[in-house]
């Protein structure tokens, strides 16, 4: 029999016992719905984590720091890769200076190299003041998705006295009860420790002895620290907290300044004190750290390796995300197994329904055989009935699962809002899950149909025709 004829006959047979077949199909639908609901939750959570990490630029960013050579390797788990020869080499570490920055920028697959500027300052908005972590933000962050959900706008230029504030920090700076967005357009005063270079010793000596020649290798050495203040206008307020939502990871901070402006502030950073205490061969400005943006996550591993070979400590979160993927694969597997249990129970319903159908349609099977149906035709007919139930149940189950997901998502949103937290999307039904769930339902149904179909096919036509 041709497929179309089989399908028509199967659909007709299913319509005949509409209540029983509908209940069986509903059983499949519930099974598929539970599978879809659980897997969608797993996929949604995975995407939520991926989005957060990607938004922070963690997938395509390599953090570069100078090596700190000690006989015990690198303290602090810097993540830089070193050869055994390098490990035993106690020469002074290579300085992360302008030359190194240019060299790194020239590596393949590098989009940009930005210095990491992070410092602690006091933010003041009368009458409140708060200690806050300030970070320089590159212009490229505007298009990287880092600022999703921000109210206001990005910096109007690279050198403007503007600031973007995290939601929680905005709340702390404002009077009680005011929305964080009330901070937009207001001016915040930042008080910070500024570095002021000392004049070179030769100039000092020249002043003391004007006729003495100054050597070419004599440069400014050391600096003094002075308090400084500057005003910045708030142009953007980010959602979430400075420890949770919004830009996280490398750049997590309470306030963000344009990177060029942050650099020009000459704020004292931890690395400055370290550099004063040790001999350095660096040329021009030296950096505490550089953030290197690669063309994509695929280029990060190679880039990390190249930078390590240049003599710097390089660190990315690629390894961490690999573990994350493994975790979610196992998580999804368990969710899938639990979701499939309901489908397994539903498959028993299919077997039961089809076995009942054989008993009820015994005579009909006999007639079909008398008219020329081969065992194969009868078997295929029952398979088609199982397959139709699986297909209809699968489609209905996906819709039901999607609906359950929407309800859970809505409930989560309401709960999170009541807790004063942002409500992320923890639900995702990708196409592969829709098609996979329907395919799985059909497959399970066909497998369930094997026994009844074989039994129907083996019926003796003479016996079947006598059946009343």
């Amino acid at each position: 029999m041709k497929v179309r004829d089989l399908t028509e006959l199967a659909a007709r047979n299913l319509r005949e016992a509409v209540l029983r077949n509908s209940l069986t199909t509903l059983g499949i639908a519930v099974g598929v719905a539970s599978l879809v609901a659980l897997l969608s939750l797993g996929v949604g959570l995975q995407q939520l984590v991926n989005r957060s990490v990607a938004r922070a630029g963690l997938f395509d960013t390599v953090s570069v720091r100078p090596r700190q050579n000690t006989p015990f390797g690198q303290p602090g788990g810097g993540g830089g890769r070193r050869t055994p020869r390098e490990g035993s080499n106690l020469e002074p570490p290579r300085a992360l200076d302008d030359a190194a920055r240019k060299e790194i920028a020239a590596l393949p697959n590098v989009l940009e190299v930005n210095p990491e500027v992070r410092f602690t300052a006091e933010a003041r908005l009368e009458p409140n003041s708060q200690l806050v972590l300030v970070s320089g933000m590159a212009q490229s962050s505007q298009s990287s998705g880092t600022l999703d959900g921000m109210t206001g706008k990005f910096f109007s230029g690279p050198d403007v006295q503007e600031v973007i504030v995290q939601g929680d920090m905005a709340k702390r700076l404002l009077e009680d009860g005011k929305a964080p967005t009330a901070l937009l357009g207001q001016e915040i005063t930042l008080r910070f420790a500024q570095r002021q270079a000392l004049p070179p010793p030769s100039q000092q000596a020249a002043a003391d002895a004007p006729n003495q020649a100054v050597g070419p290798d004599e440069e400014a050495m050391g600096f003094s620290i002075v308090p400084s203040e500057k005003k910045f206008r708030v142009v953007g307020v980010l959602p979430g907290s400075d420890s949770g939502g919004g830009p996280v990871g490398f750049n997590n901070a309470g306030l963000y300044l344009p990177l060029a402006v942050a650099e020009k502030l000459q704020v004292v950073q931890g690395a400055d004190l370290r550099d004063v205490a040790r001999t350095s061969t660096g040329v021009g400005q030296r950096y505490a750290a550089l953030n290197v943006r690669a063309t994509g996550p695929a280029a990060v591993t190679q880039l990390e390796s190249s930078i390590s070979h240049m003599g710097f400590a390089a660190f990315s979160l690629i390894d961490v995300t690999r573990n994350l993927r493994t975790f979610f694969a196992i998580f999804d597997l368990f969710l899938g197994i639990f979701g499939s249990l309901a489908l397994a129970v539903a498959s028993l319903g299919i077997i039961n329904t089809l076995v009942m159908a054989i008993l009820e349609r015994r005579r009909e099977i006999g007639v079909l055989k008398a008219l020329g149906a081969a065992n194969r035709d009868v078997r295929q007919l029952f398979f088609a009935e199982a397959g139709v139930m699986g297909l209809v149940g699968g489609v209905a189950g996906v819709m039901l699962g999607w609906g359950i997901g929407r309800v859970i998502q809505f409930g989560t949103m309401v709960y999170m809002k009541r807790q004063g937290l942002s409500s992320p999307n923890i639900w995702s039904v990708p196409w592969w899950l829709v098609l996979g769930a329907i395919g799985f339902a059909v497959l399970i149904s066909l497998v369930s149909g094997i026994y009844p179909a074989s039994r129907a096919a083996q019926l003796d036509p003479v016996e079947a025709l006598r059946y009343e």
Binding site: D5, G366, A370, L371, G372, A373, D377, V462
Partner: protein, 243 residues
């Protein structure tokens, strides 16, 4: 797949059984439903199998139809031995070579008449475009052209049996097997059905069909059949040529 109406078997016999037996085991007892029957049915002949209940006539008809397999012996239909056929080949034999009419009509009650009659065409994988005409032709032939959308429970017994005949003929088989076709009908309706079967056997124009009919009504057999074979206890007890 379709057999033309004018095909005639080469050996002159439409059906031939050679010492065919069908035995059943029931506990320790062996039931000889059909025992060593040798029979030849000429192409175009109308043979009536007569006998009391349990004489083995329906079992013999089932063996000829390929619904059952013999315990021993050979059955040749259109020159092919059914005993050596696979179940797929037997199914094809039932679909193409023979048409069967049952005492209790065996129409599927939830299908309309045209759907019932279309079933053998579906099984024969006849192109969908050809089917409506073939169905209409078969139903017109039995006088049910106006009842195509009716379901069997909406018809009288006689109409149902006519629909069953239309279904048996829709694939244009060479042999029509009828198992007590009038057994569930009143006398008048039975007469009508027999008239229809006779017309199929010898149509006003074109070639007729070989017919094997099981009945327990001697009068009907004598009136319409060319030959009567009487069975008793699974064996042939008497043979009468009438025409």
């Amino acid at each position: 797949m379709n057999v033309p109406e004018n095909v005639i078997s080469t050996n002159g016999f439409a059906i031939r059984t050679d010492r065919v037996s069908r035995h059943y085991k029931m506990g320790d007892a062996l039931i000889r439903a059909v025992d060593q029957i040798s029979l030849e049915v000429q192409t175009g002949e109308f043979l009536a199998l007569l006998g009391a209940s349990g004489s083995g006539k329906s079992t013999l008809l089932n063996l000829i139809a390929g619904l059952d397999r013999p315990s021993s012996g050979a059955i040749l239909a259109q020159g092919r031995d059914l005993a050596g056929m696979s179940s797929e080949e037997l199914a094809s034999h039932r679909n193409q070579t023979i048409g069967i009419v049952f005492q209790s009509f065996q129409l599927l009650p939830r299908m309309t008449l045209e759907e019932n009659v279309e079933l053998p065409l579906r099984l024969a994988e006849v192109p969908r475009g050809e089917r409506p005409e073939r169905v209409r032709e078969a139903l017109d032939r039995v006088g049910l052209g106006a009842r195509v959308k009716h379901r069997p429970p909406e018809l009288s017994g006689g109409e149902q049996q006519r629909a069953a005949i239309a279904r048996a003929l829709v694939n244009r088989p060479m042999i029509l097997l009828a198992d007590e076709p009038t057994g569930n009908l009143d006398t008048k309706t039975g007469e009508e059905i027999m008239g229809l079967i006779a017309a199929i056997h010898r149509p006003p124009s074109g070639a007729g069909r070989t017919i094997v009919m099981v009945t327990h009504e001697r009068a009907l057999a004598e009136r319409f059949a060319d030959r009567i074979v009487t069975l008793s206890d699974g064996a042939i007890s008497r043979e009468e040529r009438l025409r």
